[in-house]
């Protein structure tokens, strides 16, 4: 049949696009409006049968084997990819080098794909909007990353990241439920959740978060933070109604309204470095040259699954305005307004959609790494964090440099210089 494919649809076959997120993988064909499937980024270990997240595997060889299984499912169960398709991988800028190299190895060596291109998720978000510049915040599972993009070039120097996203919310919710959650069994007997053994796993936590919790308004949140900071006379706002959540056939968990409202506050609480999800946006703007700041502030794009939480976007917007008047930013930023874009897709699929739009273009062939190039370059991939010159592959010292460059340390490096130099300029 492949012959008819090419005849009927004119030459170039549509590439496949994978956005392998830390929690969910979005997969589908380029030039379509939405991914075919959204599946958990987990894979079953052949020996033990336990499900593991593909980003949690630290052993290179094991990762290689399990990625073969994972990509097999994507290829032959979820997307049903015919032979010889180019591949577009949408990735976070902080994807571990080991992971992307192993993935490329699986695709090139095991699946023998003609070409692969890795594209940064933040840049792809702009493709769904038709604008060249914007401030993109990706709030997903493990990390929240803010990356400004100006005229199609990501400003890596201003990149901001925090290890607070969905997973932190789950952990907080778990701790709170263990402390305050009450389970009623079929006899109507009530006991604390902590006495029931391991009944709440992360899937249930996620379900509770998605169905019951919401991001509260700023004024209420300020009261909550005041109470938790132990300020006198501070009072909690009247909590929303409790929810009866059925755990299994016998047990029902009562989720206090307080937990429903407070759960997401973990993202907005300032940590010891005075950072929260919303300060990331302003810090990223501060790191940028003064003449592009206004453009960025008026082109904010929120992507990632956590941004779909009820009330999240509104909270970010109100926090930004309130932060602007805080002493920390008052004299450093002269911004008047913030504006948000509304991408033509659900927020968890925005990066995928961008990749799908990028994937149809003629330049894909020149931008991607072909199988020949891959083998010629000793299975190395071009990467922003390495000095290895991809086209001049004889440079051995560069190869060594590349091997030492570990991307995982970079977020903290980019975070630490809080750049007083820039601040003075303002």
């Amino acid at each position: 049949m492949p012959m008819f494919d090419t005849l009927a649809y004119g030459g170039e076959k549509t590439p496949v696009v994978f956005d392998i997120g830390t929690a969910y993988t979005k997969c589908g064909f380029s030039s379509e409006c939405s991914p075919r499937k959204i599946v958990p980024s987990t894979v079953k270990k052949a020996k033990t049968g336990e499900l593991v997240n593909i980003y949690d595997i630290s052993d290179r060889e094991e990762l290689y084997r399990l990625l073969i299984d994972f990509v097999h499912l994507l290829y032959f169960r979820h997307v049903l990819v015919p032979k010889e398709r180019r591949v577009v991988i949408v990735e976070s800028v902080f994807t571990p080098t080991m992971f992307r190299e192993t993935l490329a190895g699986v695709l090139f060596k095991h699946y023998e794909v003609p070409s692969v291109v890795f594209v940064p998720a933040h840049l792809m978000a702009l493709f769904t909007l038709g604008i060249p510049s914007g401030l993109v915040m990706d709030c997903g599972y493990k990390q929240t990353i803010v990356l400004p993009v100006y005229e199609g070039i990501p400003v890596l120097k201003a990149c901001q990241a925090l290890p607070f996203a969905s997973k932190a919310v789950h952990n907080y919710l778990d701790a709170q439920l263990r402390e305050h959650g009450i389970v009623r069994d079929s006899q109507g007997e009530e006991k604390p959740l902590s006495s029931v053994k391991d009944i709440v796993d992360e899937n249930i936590l996620e379900d509770i978060k998605v169905r019951c919790c919401f991001v509260t308004k700023l004024d209420r949140a300020q009261q909550i933070h005041a109470v938790s900071a132990g300020i006198k006379d501070a009072e909690l706002p009247a909590p929303p109604p409790d929810v009866q959540y059925p755990l299994d056939g016998a047990n029902t968990l009562t989720i206090p309204g307080k937990i429903r409202e407070h759960t997401f506050e973990i993202l907005f609480e300032r940590d010891s470095e005075e950072q929260s999800v919303s300060t990331l946006l302003l810090d990223a703007i501060i790191q940028c040259p003064i003449d592009i700041r206004k453009t960025l502030a008026e082109n904010i794009i929120l992507i990632g699954g956590t941004c779909m939480s009820v009330g999240f976007q509104h909270r970010i917007l109100t926090e930004l305005y309130s932060l602007l008047n805080s002493p920390r930013y008052k004299n450093r930023l002269a911004l008047k307004s913030f504006k948000f874009h509304h991408p033509p897709s659900k927020r968890n699929c925005v990066a995928w959609l961008g990749g799908a739009i990028f994937g149809i273009q003629e330049i894909l062939s020149t931008r991607s790494i072909s199988r020949d190039q891959y083998t010629k370059n000793h299975c190395m991939l071009p990467d922003w964090c390495s000095l290895y010159d991809y086209e001049e592959s004889d440079n051995h010292s560069a190869i060594l440099l590349k091997k030492e460059a570990s991307k995982e340390v970079l977020p903290s490096v980019s975070k630490s210089p809080r750049s007083p130099v820039v601040a003075k300029k303002v």
């Binding site: 049949m1 492949p2 008819f4 494919d5 979005k26 030039s31 409006c33 939405s34 075919r36 169960r77 979820h78 049903l80 990819v81 015919p82 095991h110 699946y111 291109v117 890795f118 940064p120 702009l126 493709f127 769904t128 909007l129 038709g130 604008i131 060249p132 993009v149 199609g152 070039i153 998605v210 169905r211 019951c212 919401f214 308004k217 009247a238 929303p240 109604p241 929810v243 009866q244 904010i300 009820v310 009330g311 509104h314 917007l317 307004s337 913030f338 504006k339 948000f340 991408p343 033509p344 897709s345 659900k346 739009i357 003629e362 330049i363 020149t366 922003w384 000095l387 010159d389 086209e391």
Partner: protein, 448 residues
């Protein structure tokens, strides 16, 4: 019969070095090598729907986004929906007093009792449906974007071509100005968008309205603080992800989804590109047109009886050997020369004589008059049992390491009559080749 229960007890080493039980290996009769999952390439052979078992040609499947035209999944639990018929009284417009019964159809889930009526979908007059498809409201905008970026990319491409021909003057070569890093970044494609070339060029015939940023976002509804949640009305994340276009948050927005097709796969040897396995086209058939699995071509070992394994004590182990081929097969067992896999934890004494296996005969099982045993002159100290194409033979094992599984390895050498189609047409005698495959056996823990 340890290997009936646990296939991983006896494993074979494929050509690529992969260790796997025989049931998971292929045998390429063109290169005469054992092939594992790592050295075969998978292909999509045909598309079919698992519910109606209807076959779909691949261009059709592509158009329908690999979804069956007739079958639906329940948006609530993912089970297949079935069509229900019921009769509804219709008012006759001509004479108002009279009503005529009419047959109508709706979709219902047999598992969770969800019906298409729950979400207000109108009943259909024909059984096959005519259910309206949900349309993504952003489809037009996205196709505009696609056109726009396509155009931009073409421009980018022509500009590159131009640059190739016009000689760059060295003093204008700015990339050196920023040192090595930016030089390298320039070449590194992945981080750069195609926005690098000026988007606002006048000669762009295709133009789109860039997305407009607004300073309003959806507010948190006030009743969230007071209204109790009806948990059964809020969709779970799995229900949302089942429909990536809409990701409904309330159960009233659930909509039946066309069932995703499944595929039949065929496997191909990566080296000689011959098919190793090809299923029959018909979705309801479970047979194969080509099936070169190793079980049909390579003699299979099983552990018959396991003696008490004791450290540094020689014990006799009985292995059975099956001949899957319909020719007389001679098997010799050789010690494995180098232990690259660091597998062995025991000393093994292999039978030195050749083991002869009678051909497989499916009818022999029912035929108990013929006693084939007479035909072979077996050494009774090696071969302890023989029945049709199966023998049991003795291997002596001395476990050497105390706190590990007892593992032995050897090389099996057997004569294989090569019946490749090319040779058959030439009407030659089938060529006999001796094949060697390393075999790894795990006997389990030391017992006492």
């Amino acid at each position: 019969m340890a290997t009936y229960m646990d296939v991983n007890r006896v494993q074979y080493v494929a050509f690529s070095g992969t260790v796997a039980p025989l049931s998971k290996l292929y045998f390429c009769r063109h290169c005469l090598k054992l092939r594992s999952r790592d050295c075969v390439s998978q292909e999509v052979d045909s598309y079919y729907c698992s519910n109606c078992l209807e076959n779909m040609p691949s261009p059709d499947a592509k158009l329908k986004k690999n979804r069956c035209a007739n079958c639906f999944d329940c948006p609530s639990c993912g089970h297949s929906l079935s069509t229900r018929a019921t009769s509804v009284a219709f008012q006759d417009p001509d004479n108002p007093g009279k009503s005529t019964p009419k047959k109508v159809y709706y979709l219902a889930c047999g598992f969770c009792r969800w019906t298409s009526r729950d979400v207000g979908l109108k009943d259909q007059l024909i059984a096959s449906g005519g259910w309206q498809e949900q349309e993504n409201p952003n489809e037009k905008r996205i196709s505009e974007l696609l056109d726009y970026y396509k155009h931009l990319a073409q421009k980018d491409q022509t500009e590159r071509e131009k640059k190739k021909y016009s000689r760059r003057r060295s003093y204008l070569h700015l990339s050196e100005k920023f040192g090595l890093t930016s030089h390298a970044i320039k070449k590194r494609s992945a981080l750069m968008g195609i926005g690098g070339i000026s988007i606002k060029d006048d000669d762009l015939s295709v133009d789109i309205e860039p997305s407009l940023a607004i300073d309003k976002v959806e507010e948190l509804p006030d009743d969230v603080f007071t209204k109790p949640i009806v948990l059964t009305d809020v969709t779970t994340i799995r229900q949302r992800h089942a429909n990536p276009d809409f990701q409904p948050t309330h159960i009233s927005q659930l909509y039946p989804r066309h069932k995703t097709m499944l595929i039949k796969r065929s496997q191909r040897c990566k080296e000689c590109e011959h098919n190793l396995s090809k299923p029959e086209f018909n979705p309801s058939s479970i047979k194969f047109r080509i099936q070169l699995v190793a079980l049909h071509h390579v003699p299979e070992f099983r552990i018959m009886s396991l003696p008490n394994l004791q450290i540094n004590k020689e014990v006799q182990l009985i292995l059975t050997l099956f001949n899957p081929l319909d020719t007389l097969t001679h098997v010799a067992l050789l010690p494995s020369p180098t232990d690259e896999l660091k597998w062995d934890t025991a000393k093994v004494v292999l039978p030195t004589c050749e083991l002869v296996l009678s051909p497989r005969d499916d009818t022999a099982e029912f035929d108990d008059t013929v006693d084939q045993q007479q035909n072979f002159k077996d050494d009774p100290s090696v071969v302890v049992s023989r029945k049709s194409n199966k023998i049991g033979f003795i291997v002596k094992v001395t476990p050497m390491i105390a706190d590990d599984d007892v593992r032995i390895s050897f090389i099996m050498k057997y004569d294989y009559k090569n019946m490749t189609p090319a040779l058959q047409t030439e009407k030659k005698q089938p060529e006999i080749t001796w094949l060697q495959f390393p075999v790894l056996v795990n006997l389990g823990k030391i017992t006492g």
